[in-house]
């Protein structure tokens, strides 16, 4: 099929501790939290005060500069605390959950026959707009924009990531309705990418342009797919929505309720109960994995792009996976000797791990070296399957050279596309952070 996307460059990291494909309902968390820092560049304005009663779908806060973008409660209960960080920045909005959710009624609607303005307003009103992400910049979309296309990547290639087909297996109807709703938001097409293996239940989706994607990570990154299907030029907007969030939007239109379902795969070599848990967005991580020792890193997300959590903190808004791996705070004697320490995976060939492409590795969080100046060339290009020069782009971002960043393709990248650069680069530089800062600079300078 001509719509296939075949990715050649990249690197699939095979790790121990994949989640077993059993879906169970997670024990109801006593508290949930929405974390405004999950929505990059959004400045939250609280609507409710501590102690207020909320239903699922009730507005908690809105975006200061795009007032129509509302963030609503995933569960019903009582707003317990608004946790603030430095400069009184709101870090967490914590809700003590009722034992049983009650929902705010939005009313059912068929997005295919409804007016596109109504569809948009319904998504905005219910808080589902938080699911809509904008490229370039990787931020929450501005409802005033008109995107040239919407991309949904219903697959995963990141290490130990959740199987999207498995997550959506019992929500295919909602997923289809959600896709229908998205067609009303764009003047262009809605693109759905699925893993190429034949016979996937997601292949039958209608009203979308289907792409079968194959290749190593980051083939499933939506940014890579956009680059190969319909690349973003200066001034253009493309929106992306996560696959489970599409189903959540669909359920909103089917039932009129904001059912903020989040299926979370618990994975990683340090996790004990490796299964798929179904809960609501913002669940307490300890309700999924219990309390773990200090020597285990809890990651909200996959090992390449996730955020670090402590016991008792809350899973982020978007991730479908919580990964637990051992901390690597130990010394290794003569760790630089070539062809030694072959149990640590390496894309380079300075140890022998490349000889065992099917072996699954038990990794820890050790940096395996120290930060150095950029010396080795060619290794970044090998894991960024786009027509751009990652090392030069990183250098332009470090220098803050806007014109250069623009011509080198800053509009087409998101930090997650550089996650593998973080992983492979010899100099241990933080590529994702550099790209994020570069994108932030573009937002303030270009908009």
């Amino acid at each position: 099929m001509s719509n296939d996307i075949r990715i050649k460059r990249g690197h699939t990291l095979r790790l121990k501790g994949e989640a077993e494909k059993t879906l169970i309902d997670a024990p109801r968390s006593r508290s949930f939290a929405i974390k405004p820092p999950d929505f990059h560049s959004i400045i939250p304005k609280m609507v409710l005060k501590e102690g207020a009663k909320v239903q699922a779908g009730d507005e908690l806060f809105f975006s200061k500069y795009t007032g129509e973008v509302k963030f609503t409660s995933p569960v019903s209960g009582t707003l317990r605390e608004i946790k603030r960080g430095e400069k009184r920045r709101i870090m967490e909005v914590i809700i003590d959950a009722d034992p049983q959710d009650t929902y705010r009624e939005f009313g059912a609607m068929d997005p295919l026959t409804a007016d596109s303005v109504d569809v948009k307003n319904r998504i905005l009103e219910s808080g589902c707009w938080a699911f809509v992400n904008q490229r370039p910049y990787d931020i929450v979309a501005d409802p005033k924009d008109s995107p040239k296309a919407i991309f949904v990547s219903a697959m995963n290639t990141a290490p130990l990531s959740a199987d999207i087909e498995f997550i959506l297996q019992d929500r295919l109807e909602a997923f289809q309705v959600g896709l229908n709703a998205l067609t009303k938001l764009t003047r262009g097409k809605v693109h759905l990418s699925v893993a190429k293996k034949g016979g996937s239940s997601l292949n039958g989706m209608k009203n979308v342009e289907l792409h079968e994607v194959s290749g190593p990570h980051p083939a499933a990154n939506v940014g890579v797919q956009i680059h190969h299907v319909d690349p973003i030029n200066m001034g253009e907007r493309v929106w992306t929505v996560g696959p489970e969030d599409v189903a959540n939007i669909g359920e909103l239109f089917l039932t009129g309720k904001f059912n903020a379902v989040r299926t979370i795969a618990v994975a990683g070599s340090s996790a004990e109960n490796r299964k798929y848990f179904r809960t609501k967005i913002g669940a307490n991580v300890s309700d999924l994995i219990g309390t773990v020792s200090d020597n285990v890193r809890i990651i909200s997300g996959d090992v390449l792009t996730g955020k670090k959590l402590s016991n008792g903190q809350y899973v982020g808004f978007f991730p479908n996976v919580v990964t637990l791996i051992p901390e690597g705070n130990k010394y290794r004697m003569l760790g630089w000797l070539p062809f030694t320490y072959n149990d640590i995976p390496s894309k380079s060939r300075t140890n022998l791990s490349w000889m065992f492409p099917n072996k699954r590795y038990d990794v820890d969080t050790n940096l395996h070296g120290e930060v150095r100046a950029l010396v080795v060339t060619g290794e970044m290009e090998a894991v960024v399957p786009m027509d751009l020069f990652p090392m030069q782009l990183i250098k332009a971002c470090m220098a803050g050279d806007i014109e250069k960043m623009e011509s080198l393709g800053i509009y087409e990248v998101a930090p997650e596309d550089f996650a593998l650069v973080d992983y492979v680069n010899t100099s241990k530089i933080e590529a994702q952070e550099i790209i994020r800062l570069g994108l932030d600079l573009m937002i303030t300078e270009v908009g």
Partner: protein, 395 residues
């Protein structure tokens, strides 16, 4: 191992943050991290990292140099002893060479690393491993009889002017090892060229024919060495440049570990072959060549510093071209110009040093044009509906 770690932790106590010798931490860190890869964990970005680090990469290059270094010790001794006596024992030759070469390596490392340490402490950054390779390369590309103080002065020039002036490892424009050699070459030409510097103690012994093959050719004389001698490296030359066979072994290690760019090596060989073939073809075009132009193209690849330069210095990722296509052009031109300079330069019948330095200077230009290609492709795909008006006003 535990007790070494405990000892080290105790030893470095006064260097820790907020302690008396905090400023000198990079110095102690250099030794500490050489013994133990530190316990640092990821704090942002990807939570897991590849096993490779700069130490591993640099040590791999050093590893690729060791066979060449050991062979050259024997060859230095052999070249000298075989001219004054009939029978040459292996250990006798090796011992002579080792006694000549090891002091040069020691001087290079001591002088260079002292400057690196001083700069790391002064600038407050960790010591980069790049000098592990540079410091070994410098003595390996010098004539064996060069006085140690000249090695020291060349190292000082290379590290200070060639590297630190540009901001240290990763920022230099020229390959530091070749900068050292070029400095010595132009500052002390009598020690760096001619026909008495290539065999150890040649000037002191009567009747030694110590010319390099290229020198012989430039003088218009016949070469007495066989192609096999050239390949194995039993010929006079700069300390460690002679053995094409062992350099090939090192190249294979660098290519196998992906530490050295096979693209640069291959394209350099192609470039040198093309230039050699052009010169070889002169007689058939009715032009009379000279000894150098008629020297077979494949022997051009074996003699002089070409193989050594291509494998260990042209592939330096910092001073070379950084883009994939750029590497092909960069490598090709290095090989091409090396042979061209060899043949045309009347003063000095070797070209690889100058060719690499020249292409070092042009590498950013080559990369610029490669990147422009990508930028042009990007600019070409204009959106059919024009630019978002919102963005237009913001600009």
């Amino acid at each position: 191992m535990e007790w070494i770690r405990t000892k080290l932790d105790k030893l470095r106590e006064p260097f820790n943050q907020g302690k008396k010798y905090e400023k000198f931490a990079p110095a102690i860190n250099a030794f500490d991290t050489l013994l133990f890869t530190p316990n640092h964990t990821t704090s942002k970005g990807a939570h897991v990292r590849d096993a490779v680090d700069l130490k591993r990469v640099m040590i791999t290059v050093v590893l690729a140099l060791i066979p060449v270094l050991l062979f050259s010790m024997w060859n230095i001794g052999y070249q000298y002893l075989s001219q004054i006596q009939a029978e040459v024992g292996f250990w006798e030759a090796f011992g002579h060479g080792a006694l000549k070469l090891m002091p040069m390596v020691a001087v290079s490392y001591i002088v260079g690393l002292s400057i690196e340490f001083a700069f790391a402490i002064y600038r407050g950054h960790e010591i980069n491993e790049g000098y592990l390779v540079t410091g070994l390369l410098i003595p390996m590309i010098m004539p064996i009889d060069i006085p140690l103080w000249m090695v020291a002065v060349s190292v000082v020039f290379a590290v200070l002017i060639g590297k630190e002036a540009f901001g240290g490892t990763g920022m230099n424009i020229l390959n530091p090892a070749l900068t050292a050699r070029a400095f010595a070459f132009f500052a002390y030409p009598t020690f760096m060229s001619g026909n008495t510097v290539w065999v150890s103690n040649a000037a002191e012994v009567d009747g030694v024919s110590g010319e390099t093959i290229l020198g012989t050719l430039a003088a218009g004389e016949q070469v007495q060495y066989s192609t096999m001698d050239m390949f194995l490296g039993v010929i006079p030359g700069s300390a460690s440049e002679t053995s094409a066979a062992l350099i090939l072994l090192g190249a294979l290690l660098l290519i196998f570990t992906k530490v050295g760019s096979w693209r640069i090596m291959l394209s350099s060989v192609i470039g040198a072959s093309v230039m050699g073939l052009i010169f070889n073809a002169l007689p058939s075009m009715g032009l009379e060549g000279n000894e150098l132009t008629n020297f077979p193209w494949y022997e051009h690849l074996l003699v002089g510093g070409l193989a050594f330069g291509i494998v260990y210095m042209a592939t330096d990722p910092v001073s070379g071209a950084q883009t994939t296509r750029g590497k092909w052009v960069y490598g090709f031109l290095i090989g091409f110009f090396s042979v061209m300079i060899r043949v045309f330069n009347p003063a000095y019948p070797e070209g690889v040093m100058l060719a690499i330095l020249l292409m070092n200077v042009f590498a950013p230009t080559i990369d610029h044009y490669v990147i422009q290609g990508s930028i042009k492709r990007r600019n070409k795909r204009k959106s059919p509906e024009g630019i978002n008006p919102q963005v237009n006003t913001a600009v």
